[in-house]
């Protein structure tokens, strides 16, 4: 509208017929949404068997909103649990590689090199898997836009980027003579130092969410993931042909990992079971089946591993079982989280039984100003009297005269 005269503009203001041309341009906050399909149908009761006011799966003590989930389901696709496995293997392999580099002597150099190769390949595959999961893969570099300690995903992005760079440098330079070689070996140590959190941060990532099951197992899941990473890295490295000397190292590494994995898995289960509704996904359905499969395969892998005898087929069988167990555990945890987020009572009962803010804040009252714990009377039907909270003018039962208007 640059060729408007002042007269034109004045007339447009006054004649009441011309609309603002900008009103026809999509400028709203949500107008940038790229929409190909309408949203899928909402979850909810297919057909209510009763009138809405009398329906629902809940009791008066434990109500919900038509049984709808409170939380949004985690959006992670298959590539994220796959990354949990691959990233764990990469982290544990880089730790073993650095240990062999500095303490293993000449006889184990080939194994140290193999560890570095596995770690570097794992880092690269991990990055690919994570980028594949993004809603806007082209913007993956935004992950390194900020450094945010409150976000395990931000921390993990930096750890993965750093360990990938360090392991690649180590792989390329460690056999060179002179200063380059020293630099490569130092990079290997850096990769190993970053490999430790790489193997464990994924559990923090999972538990630092609102999903009741994941939040609940936050204290023990990192130990499980790191033990499992040790076991799966040892198993994968043992699947490659290797000498007796290398077998002595690998056997100690992987068996220690498998034993720790067996114990920490039970700890995760115990922690999840503290509230029935929270632990339920691990005991039934697809998630429960994956979790049971992971336990069976891992224990079988450990059992076959410690049986006497050194036959190659036995070794391959044990390592394959352990690998399947580790992968199934990752997929089982993710699937169980999805189920947990879908169940409103997992959120409600968990928080009512002290797994919400009460765990860290020590508050004894829910957000409605009443005690956390169940059973609660239906409101408005003779709830027991309690003293009102001081300095809270809206506490229940504090009768104050209405303000003069």
């Amino acid at each position: 509208m640059s060729d408007d005269t002042l007269l034109d503009r004045l007339q447009r203001k006054a004649d009441g017929r011309n609309i603002d041309p900008r009103a026809g341009i999509l400028e709203g906050e949500g107008a940038q949404q790229r929409v190909k399909d309408p949203e899928p149908p909402k979850p909810g009761p297919e057909v209510l068997a009763t009138v809405p006011s009398r329906s629902g799966p809940d009791s008066a003590e434990a109500p919900s909103y038509y049984g709808l989930p409170v939380l949004k389901e985690p959006l992670w696709i298959w590539s994220v649990p796959a990354y949990f496995y691959v990233g764990g293997v990469a982290g544990a392999a880089s730790v073993l590689g650095a240990a062999l580099e500095h303490l293993g002597g000449r006889g184990l150099e080939r194994l140290a090199g193999r560890c570095h190769t596995v770690a570097t390949a794992g880092d690269l595959v991990s990055a690919g898997l994570l980028i594949h999961d993004l809603g806007r893969p082209s913007r993956f570099l935004n992950m390194l836009r900020v450094f945010r300690p409150t976000s395990p995903m931000s921390m993990g992005s930096w750890v993965l980027a750093g360990s990938g760079a360090a392991n690649t440098a180590a792989l390329a330079l460690r056999r060179r003579p002179g200063a380059w070689g020293s630099l490569g070996r130092a990079a290997g140590a850096v990769g190993a130092a970053l490999g430790l959190p790489l193997a464990g941060y994924t559990a923090v990532l999972v538990s630092n969410t609102a999903v009741p099951l994941w939040q609940q197992v936050g204290r023990v899941l990192p130990l499980f993931f790191m033990a499992s990473a040790t076991a799966s890295a040892g198993s994968l490295l043992s699947l490659f042909p290797h000498t007796d000397a290398e077998e002595r190292v690998l056997r100690r590494f992987r068996v220690a990992g498998k034993v720790a994995e067996a114990f920490t898995r039970e700890a995760v289960e115990l922690e999840a079971r503290r509230v029935v509704e929270v632990g339920r996904p691990l005991r039934g359905g697809a998630a429960g089946a994956l979790w049971a499969l992971s336990r069976t395969c891992s224990l079988a892998g450990l059992g076959v591993d410690v049986l006497p005898g050194r036959a190659r087929w036995k070794q391959v069988m044990a390592d394959t079982l352990s690998t399947v167990g580790a992968v199934a555990a990752r997929f089982g945890i993710i699937q169980a989280g999805r189920v947990s987020a879908r169940d409103p009572q997992a959120t409600f009962q968990g928080q009512r039984q002290g797994l919400g803010a009460a765990q860290v804040e020590g508050n004894t009252e829910a957000s409605d100003g009443r005690p956390l714990s169940f059973p609660l009377p239906v409101l408005g039907q003779g709830a027991p009297e309690r003293a009102p909270r001081p300095d809270a003018p809206y506490a229940r039962f504090m009768v104050t005269p209405p303000e003069p208007s």
Binding site: Q33, P43, Y65, L96, V146, V204, Q359, D368, G380, R396
Partner: protein
């Protein structure tokens, strides 16, 4: 710098007209949601999502409202216009790895669509299940508290459209005072069930208080609100401590395997 802004949603005044839903969709030019029928009372929206930033919940409960008798017997409606809570300790903001989610000069929480890369972590982090990712768009979206309007000293679209002043927008201090006097008035009228949900850190320590808080008449669960929500980051320290413990164990195992597995050892 603007002052701290927020919503006070008084559910006792809500008549379930959904003007807020419509106004929000129109102002923000949000796409339609497929016109699905849920069969849950008059609520066809079901929940907040990437293209639904206001949602009116219709609760039909088999109990009368306090101090009211109706021809319907043991029955009462509760309606609540739900919205992003703009928490003081915003789980989505703390989880966002790209810095796409920021706190604005109005103390609200805003997702920058030109930065978000759709990792979906905020979706899992939100204890209220508010923020969501639209699959064909690939980015996370939620209520902006009409960031584009309040910058021009206008009222957000939903509060502007609300015919009963159920949705009130303003400075947070002023809203707190208004909400407390409203609760006092209700208690004076015998509606002792009325309480404020998430007004401040004292009543909701897990989130540090909500910039969009509510006056409710029944348990939070009835409205699909969590009873004791917590920003997950508050529990992150123990998980990181476990990682540190696991790291010690991992180093011990690797060093042990390297040392004891060397040539000439058992």
């Amino acid at each position: 710098m603007g002052s701290r802004k927020g919503f006070f949603t008084d559910t006792t005044l809500c008549i379930g007209c959904k003007a807020c839903e419509v106004a929000c969709k129109q102002w923000n030019q949000l796409p339609d949601d497929g016109f699905h029928f849920t069969g849950m009372s008059y609520d066809q929206t079901a929940h907040l999502g990437a293209s639904t930033w206001r949602h009116v919940a219709f609760v039909e409960r088999p109990a009368p409202l306090q101090g009211q008798t109706s021809g319907a017997g043991d029955f009462s409606w509760l309606m609540m216009s739900d919205v992003c809570k703009h928490c003081q300790r915003a789980a989505c903001l703390e989880a966002c790895p790209t810095g796409a989610i920021v706190r604005t000069e109005f103390d609200t929480v805003y997702v920058q669509p030109d930065v978000c890369n759709g990792c979906g972590y905020c979706v899992s982090a939100c204890p209220f299940g508010v923020v969501d990712r639209r699959e064909d768009d690939g980015r996370a979206w939620k209520c902006t508290l009409c960031y584009d309007r309040i910058g021009d000293d206008q009222t957000p679209a939903c509060a502007k459209a609300c015919p009963t002043a159920s949705i009130q927008y303003g400075d947070l201090d002023e809203l707190h005072a208004r909400a407390e006097s409203r609760v006092r008035a209700l208690h004076g009228q015998g509606v002792t069930d009325a309480y404020l949900y998430g007004k401040d850190a004292e009543s909701q320590p897990g989130t540090g208080g909500l910039n969009a808080f509510f006056l409710l008449l029944d348990k939070p669960e009835v409205y699909n609100l969590p009873p004791d929500p917590v920003a997950p980051t508050k529990k992150a320290l123990r998980a990181w401590a476990s990682v540190a413990a696991g790291a010690v164990g991992m180093v011990a195992v690797a060093v042990g395997a390297a040392v004891f597995g060397r040539e000439g050892r058992g």
